[in-house]
Symmetry: C2
Subunit: 247 residues, 2 copies
Amino acid sequence: MLDVDNNDFSRVGGADMAAFSGPVVNIDHHGTNLRRADALLVDPSQPATAMMLVDVLDALNVPLTEALATPLLLGMITDTGSFQFSNTTPQTLRTAARLLEAGARLNWLNEQRLQNPPTYYTLLREVLNSMEFQHDGQVVLARVNEAMLERAGGNWEDVDPYVNMLRNAEGGKLAVLIKDFGDKVKFSLRSRGGVSAQNIAVALGGGGHVPAAGATVEAPYAEARELLDQAVIAELARAQTPPQPQE
Amino acid sequence: MLDVDNNDFSRVGGADMAAFSGPVVNIDHHGTNLRRADALLVDPSQPATAMMLVDVLDALNVPLTEALATPLLLGMITDTGSFQFSNTTPQTLRTAARLLEAGARLNWLNEQRLQNPPTYYTLLREVLNSMEFQHDGQVVLARVNEAMLERAGGNWEDVDPYVNMLRNAEGGKLAVLIKDFGDKVKFSLRSRGGVSAQNIAVALGGGGHVPAAGATVEAPYAEARELLDQAVIAELARAQTPPQPQE
């Protein structure tokens, strides 16, 4: 079995790997790779596993065809945010150039990727209607609850991507997307400009990275929100050390 | 004067060119270039003028520095939709790779580009609240009027970009953004999948290209909308020739 872009053999979707006893080849770029396959090619310095696959094809003298190049380009686009993330290297762009030359259908891929289902719009409307700007626009929040989700016809999993839209607010240093489940509340946090989403998440019993973190608080919204607001104020105070002029 | 990425000398922003009598060098990739400068380098086959500038710098043996590479990369990103448009060629990606090697600040550019002012959100909310799906989702419309604009705190120029968001609706073949000025109505049209925005625009007294066109109707909304709806039905009927199975 060839297991690609996956850090854990047992996580292969749609197949019961417990029943598989043959050899496993694992090609991956995740730093969290468990390194358990029979043959491993793991390089966390690579922006996309798709780039490693091109290297493997080159080493095997396999010519690039459109059928190979299009899915490989999709892998590269996905992992580099369409060449917008900081992991985009000169080599990323050169490999993408070779895939284009081999016939990769760049525009077709992007047309497919950018299709929004109707719930994208209805849920976006709910998120926007709940948006709040705090602390001179440094903090941007939005909340989704069961009633809003039902009105929009969406699922909880559909909600997560909107935190990036909140994150892109001009002057914003912290974006918080709040999933209000009724009996508990989940905060998704994104930060920049010296503010740590991680610090806030940790204060709320969660965790993550400095720019992207999360926490679940086992309390109704009003109570959980109070805890969030306190943690945000504490983190803004910390991040503004040395003190910055206040308007 | 070096006039770059501009098709008409007289359109140079922020300067009164009528008073300028010196030599003008024009480097541009627009097919509509008026070809009036003293020295011209015009190549409509190039995805971005920034790529032509790299060629000029190479011909002049000017080494690429970060100060040159970052604005050149911005030009390339802007004109190729961050390497997502169909004008992205292998050469586009290779030139971008060279700019990255010269220190171009790709991630910083994208961070700056993706900042949304507060009116982005308030206006998006208005657009979403007015969204309509017609003809089984093949047609997506949204309308902005003076009252909505005032509520959002935005200007008419802020409205135009939202047509692309409408255009990305799954199953959509025609997106219409309607600017309702009260005494007249402006339609911005985007189409795909065999439907011609141009045909609809022409039927309404406007014009443009097949995938992107526009028309202004000198009538109040209800009347103009009636004309639009008729033109849309006629174009859908035409585009569905040969007849397609109706649900």
